[in-house]
Amino acid sequence: MFVGAIFFPLLGATISGFLGRWIGDRAAQWVSVTCMVLAALCGILAFLEVALGGHHTVVPLVTWMDVGGLEVSWALRYDTLSVVMVAMVTFISTLIHLYSVGYMSHDATPARFFAYLSLFTFMMLMLVTADNLAQLFFGWEGVGLASYLLIGYWYDRDSANRAAMKAFIVNRVGDVCFMLGLALVFYVFGSIEFETIFAAIPQHAEDRFGGVRAMELIGFLLFLGACGKSAQLGLHTWLPDAMEGPTPVSALIHAATMVTAGVFLVCRMSPIFEVAPTALGFVCFLGATTALFAATIGCVQNDIKRVIAYSTCSQLGYMFFAAGVGAYQVAMFHLFTHAFFKALLFLAAGSVIHAMSDEQDIRRMGGIWKKIPITYAVFWIGSLALAGVPFFAGYYSKDAIIEAAFAAHSGVGTYAFLCGILAAFLTAFYSWRLILLTFHGEPRADHHTMEHVHESPWVMLIPLLVLATGAIVTGAIFAPLFIGEHEHGFWRGAIVNGPHNHVLHAMHEVPSWVPVLPTIIGLSGIALAFLMYVFVPSLPHRLAERFHGPYHFLLNKWYFDELYDRIFVQPAQRLATVLWKTGDAKIIDGLPNGAARLAAGVSRGAVGLQTGRVANYAFAMIIGLVVLVTLFLFRA
């Protein structure tokens, strides 16, 4: 069961990847779906046993490397933290596999797609069940690879290739920090096994490295690594571009699972972050800033998937600042509920795109809600959950985050609280802007497209309905376990809160206006969206003209891409051109080419000696003889 949950996806990937050519596309698809279903069953059983039954366990597999003082083994660490992820990843991945059967039905190479998708799932599971940092890093890089392959899945599109490379390269920046953090952990603790590290934290808490507290430095480095994967401010630029991949990919990787790996990492390393208050404060600050920043951009984007992508970025910010105030459980809870409703939103968006003949621009949609009622309904549910409207999943987790930020009573906590409130308002606004522009109003698509608008097949709708159910109920069901009164018996030490950290307790005792505020804010955001896009449809246009500067600032995503292009890409390209033109073409190639030319010249010279005249030959012999005699005499 424990092993099966992890390795069934690998089996599926292997079969559809390597044998897909022989067994045919349909067989490959259904084999990988079956493997995922089995994995999901194992995952849910494991969840029942480990999280609810309370049997934390480690399943050793094999020794990976044993070099000097470094010993690393492959092992599956099953505690509540990892099993929550395992269950969630396998469950959602199964639904997305199923959805893909319908979505990719017109694709040329579905077997390849399913192989990548299953491979990604396997890597993600390796990441979350890692028993040491090396294995975690293996999964970390593995999901990066799978993400690269999937974003660039349509490799004949230039934009997809660029996006894939961008995602990979930006992630590398984070990975470097992760590796440095990993090395520092090994330097300080002499081990990278979680068990050993966590047990040794008290001895090493005050260790210094280069004049800085080692724990703070480790915290910073690991968090910077997490920033890459979780698209936090600064390293977020790849996420919106990653929407070039097929929509199920966006749903699985860039909403539900991979991007949350950073949050998972911070929670997994909670014992270290608990003794690194400065690093934790930084986590909080950056998370809050990202939450607000991404929400502002989301308000003006016009691509349906990009709006949801920025929304993801923003929600990840929420998770980080929850972790940053010490409420890791709350972060994990939001991660969990978010996975459901964000996957739902992406898949629903995919369904819309499917219906609109691959149109993604919301300015060319509208007036289709009657034609695709189920998609429309689940879109509403997803948005309600996202906006944190009461009794939907997001309400429980997002409110808890904002309460925790308030209850932290620290400087960054208050900053995070304000950002969170503001972002919640914007979230509600852009969600309904999206719904209203997409589904309502006059049809803005051309006649031909409108005729073809149709509801998706059932193989796509069933996952949508399951996820919609999840988006409604997971909050209410799991809130007591994750963050409520059963919290202690649920986590059982998988997440560590320091002795001074009472935020989980304090968040239940905030003034009564705090829990109500997000709801009011959310509803007013919805109201504003209705005002602007239903009652006074000319308002957005006038606003855009009136506030021309700010509007373009947001539309161009705070000019981050342009800035990076100027600072990093162009100088790197210039340097690369110099190295290529002179370094490689002239010097490196010059050596072998020159040697070859020299050899050819020597060859011509040597052949030239061969005149064909016997007299010359005899002369050469005599000269040679003289040389040899001379040599002999001088040595003697």
Binding site: L609, V614, A618, M621, G624, L631, A636
Partner: protein
């Protein structure tokens, strides 16, 4: 007088005369049976050599030991295979006359005498007995201008080399007072320092032998003669006489002049360096494949001389192993070249091999094996040949030789691999005729040896080891 010790030579000499008579008497063409009888005589001699005792005869002028046994067997086998290669070719070229095998037998007799020589005069006699038939068979296709030219060039330059060697011998005799190797060694043993006359004499003798193995700078005849002579003659030239001459060179240098080793080492090192470098570079531009093989053989002699230059048992063992492997892969490669005919007409440029990989995959595969082996690519035999001499050179402190050897083999890899590339990747220039059975057998035997040496190197290495010990008395 213990003349029975020289039984192999006596049997071969008498057999040659009998075969000559048997070839002359009948009215009809006797080429094929004479060839078969000659091969039989060579093999019989080889068996007798294996059964030969050890010792010296004819007043110490003739010596038989482990070293001579190894070299004689190698030379006889090379000669027999060389004759086998000519079997089909000569008939197709209308030069299938019975004198050819008889001349080869006489040359082989000369080789045996050389290898067993323990006296400067016997040495000279052996060399002349080898050379005179070679001059004739180089020009054996006498109606062909190029073949005649090759024979004549070889003769003129060979006469010069013989003269040099005879002059050197007389100088040595003048200073040592004897021509026997044992007496010469004894004479130089008691002298402190060597006079210039002896030095000149030794160098002249070395030059005469270096001419036979075509070491630079006495190689000038090689490309012209290799190209002009009929291909089976070229094959023969490149194998058996080189074995005999190297054996003689080793014996002369180690036996009578062993005490002068520090001096003559320099000469051998220089010749080895020049041969390796010239063999590598000059072959690059060659279009005629026989000319290419000429330079290739010059390069290989350079590697063999490297083993000689080390002047110890390991070096000599390396030399012996190298020669054995070289003879095998060289004859194999020549079997492929001799089989190169298009519509009955012999062709001999590299471009004619184009597309052989498709038209005759088996032959192309054998050729690739020989070429890879000559380039020294593991796990083929050629790699081990180079390995043993390089090891000896490095252990003997001759770093320069080893480094230049490795670099030269990199350069030479170019033209060996070019042949492989032409066979497999170039557009076919037209189908080559099928190879006759005799050549197929040689290709397969040499190919299997080249492939399998890595698996069972022990017999050859052990034989070479004991031969080297016999000469150096280690």
């Amino acid at each position: 007088m213990n003349w029975t010790l020289a039984l192999p030579e006596l049997v071969l000499a008498i057999g040659t005369l009998l075969i000559l008579v048997a070839g002359v008497l009948p009215k009809r063409e006797t080429y094929f049976p004479v060839c078969m009888a000659s091969i039989g005589a060579l093999l019989l001699t080889a068996v007798l050599v294996l059964a030969q005792g050890e010792g010296s005869a004819f007043g110490g002028q003739y010596i038989a030991d482990g070293f001579s046994r190894f070299m004689k067997v190698l030379a006889l086998l090379a000669a027999a295979v060389g004759l086998l290669l000519a079997l089909d070719f000569n008939e197709k070229e209308r030069i299938g006359r019975f004198e050819y095998p008889v001349l080869l037998l006489l040359a082989s007799l000369g080789m045996l005498v050389m290898i067993s020589a323990n006296d400067l005069l016997v040495l000279y006699m052996g060399i002349e007995l080898l050379s005179l038939p070679l001059y004739v068979i180089a020009a054996f296709d006498r109606d062909n201008g190029r073949s005649a030219e090759a024979g004549l060039k070889y003769f003129v330059l060979g006469a010069l080399a013989s003269g040099l060697m005879l002059y050197g011998s007389s100088l040595v005799y003048g200073f040592a007072g004897a021509t026997g190797f044992d007496q010469i060694a004894a004479a130089f043993n008691h002298q402190h320092g060597v006079s210039a006359g002896v030095v000149v004499g030794v160098v002249f003798v070395i030059a005469g032998l270096a001419f036979k193995v075509s070491a630079v700078p006495f190689h000038m005849w090689t490309p012209d003669v290799y190209e002009g002579a009929p291909t089976p003659v070229t094959a023969f030239f490149s194998a058996a006489p080189k074995v005999a001459a190297l054996a003689l060179l080793a014996r002369v240098l180690y036996d009578p002049f062993g005490d002068l080793a520090p001096q003559w080492q320099q000469v051998i090192i220089l010749m080895s360096l020049l041969s390796m470098v010239l063999g590598a570079f000059a072959a690059i531009g060659q279009q005629n494949i026989k000319r290419l093989m000429a330079y290739s053989s010059i390069g290989h002699v350079g590697y063999a001389l490297m083993g000689l230059a080390v002047a110890d048992t390991a070096g000599l063992r390396g030399l012996l192993i190298y020669m054995a492997i070289y003879v095998a892969m060289n004859l194999g490669a020549f079997a492929v070249l001799i089989a190169m005919r298009r519509q009955g007409k012999a062709v001999e440029t590299v471009a004619d091999l184009a597309g052989l990989g498709r038209t005759d995959p088996m032959r192309a595969a054998w050729m690739s094996i020989f070429m890879f082996s000559m380039a020294g690519i593991p796990p083929l035999a050629g790699f081990f040949g180079k390995l043993y001499v390089f090891l000896a050179a490095v252990q003997g402190g001759l770093w320069l030789l080893a480094v230049v050897g490795v670099l030269a083999s990199v350069v030479s890899a170019y033209y060996y691999l070019r042949i492989v590339k032409v066979m497999y990747f170039d557009e076919a220039a037209g189908r080559l005729d099928d190879a006759p059975a005799s050549l197929g057998v040689v290709m397969a035997a040499a190919g299997i040896f080249t492939l399998a040496f890595a698996l069972w190197p022990a017999p050859l290495v052990a034989a070479a080891q004991s031969a080297a010990m016999a000469l150096l008395g280690g």
